[in-house]
Amino acid sequence: MADVVAPRIYYRVFAILLACTALTWWVSRLHLNSPLGVIVALTIALGKALLVVLFFMHVRYSSRLTWVLVGAGVLWVGHLLLLTMSDYLTRGTVPGW
């Protein structure tokens, strides 16, 4: 059976997630320059998603095969974004670029 995760770990992750939400909101009010603001906001979002996947979704305690599936998901969506953007950014076919 799957490992039983102690509730105190859930509470700790929850507290970090709320703190990250407050942080990303606070940073957005600083109105950083466009690329920096986006990078900070997405880095925090990635960190939050990672916490949810590892602890709330138990991946940290799951089998290697689960890790492979989750990795495949990240890999494919990474391909989708990377290849799409490398095409658009280098060809300039969208009006307004």
Binding site: M1, A2, V4, V5, A6, P7, Y10, Y11, F14, L17, L18, T21, T24, W25, S28, S34, G37, V38, A41, L42, I44, A45, K48, A49, V52, V53, F55, F56, M57, H58, S62, S63, L65, T66, L69, V70, A72, G73, W76, V77, L80, L81, T84, M85, Y88, L89, V94, P95, G96, W97
Partner: protein, 212 residues
């Protein structure tokens, strides 16, 4: 386990093997969901890069306070979902039912706030194709941003509604004593789905609300 558990399907050796198969099955489904939302995120990224100023102008019409509040509500519902899984794993029937109902309640609060936001947009005339009388700068780019806003949050809300239905089913089964410390797989599987919906929102929140 020496005796056969009633929840064990005949094609599996034991409950642990069945649990692993169910969990991997859910993850495979979630991978298709990642690509499903991924298409929208890719579309958003392309147009946000092309029409940065228009998307910033559009984003300023969203209520950051309500967006942040909804993020907190959804993260809280993920906590109660995780606690539901724990209650199921230790075989605490009453706590499980209570945590599931609390998760549903938080989900309903999220959808209510979302509904209020939609209603507000309708009154402001910011719903493309239904009621759109925006007259500020970059009208067509703001319209495109709002189309992304409604499609992405709408699809997310649809997932929430489906999740609420699944949670309601779980709550009834939990109350009837369907789950035990030996068999809590369905709670864990639906939990994976609920957390996934939370993760989608974790990305929607900064992309739609904060980048203005």
């Amino acid at each position: 386990m020496a005796e056969q558990h009633t929840a064990l399907a005949h094609q599996f050796d034991d409950l642990a093997q069945q649990h692993e198969a169910s969990s991997l099955g859910m993850w495979a489904f979630l991978l298709t969901e990642i690509m499903f939302f991924g298409g929208l995120f890719a579309g958003y990224t392309v147009y946000r890069t092309a029409y940065a100023a228009g998307f910033v102008a559009g984003s300023q019409h969203l209520d950051i306070l309500l967006g942040t509040l909804n993020t907190a509500v959804l993260i809280s519902s993920s906590l109660t979902m995780a606690l539901s899984v724990h209650a199921a794993q230790v075989g605490h029937r009453q706590l499980l039912t209570r945590c599931l109902l609390l998760t549903m309640l938080l989900g309903l609060v999220f959808l209510s706030i979302k509904g209020y936001e939609y209603w507000h947009k309708y009154h402001e005339g910011l719903v493309p194709g239904v009621r759109f009388n925006y007259t500020g700068p970059y009208p067509s780019q703001v319209q495109l941003f709002l189309i992304f806003y409604f499609v992405m949050t709408g699809l997310h809300a649809l997932h929430m509604v489906i999740g609420l239905g699944l949670l309601a089913l779980l709550a009834v089964l939990a109350w009837r004593g369907w789950f035990s410390a030996a068999y809590s797989t369905p709670v864990e599987i639906i939990g994976l789905y609920w957390h996934f919906v939370d993760i989608v929102w974790i990305f929607l929140y900064p992309l739609l609300y904060l980048l203005g």
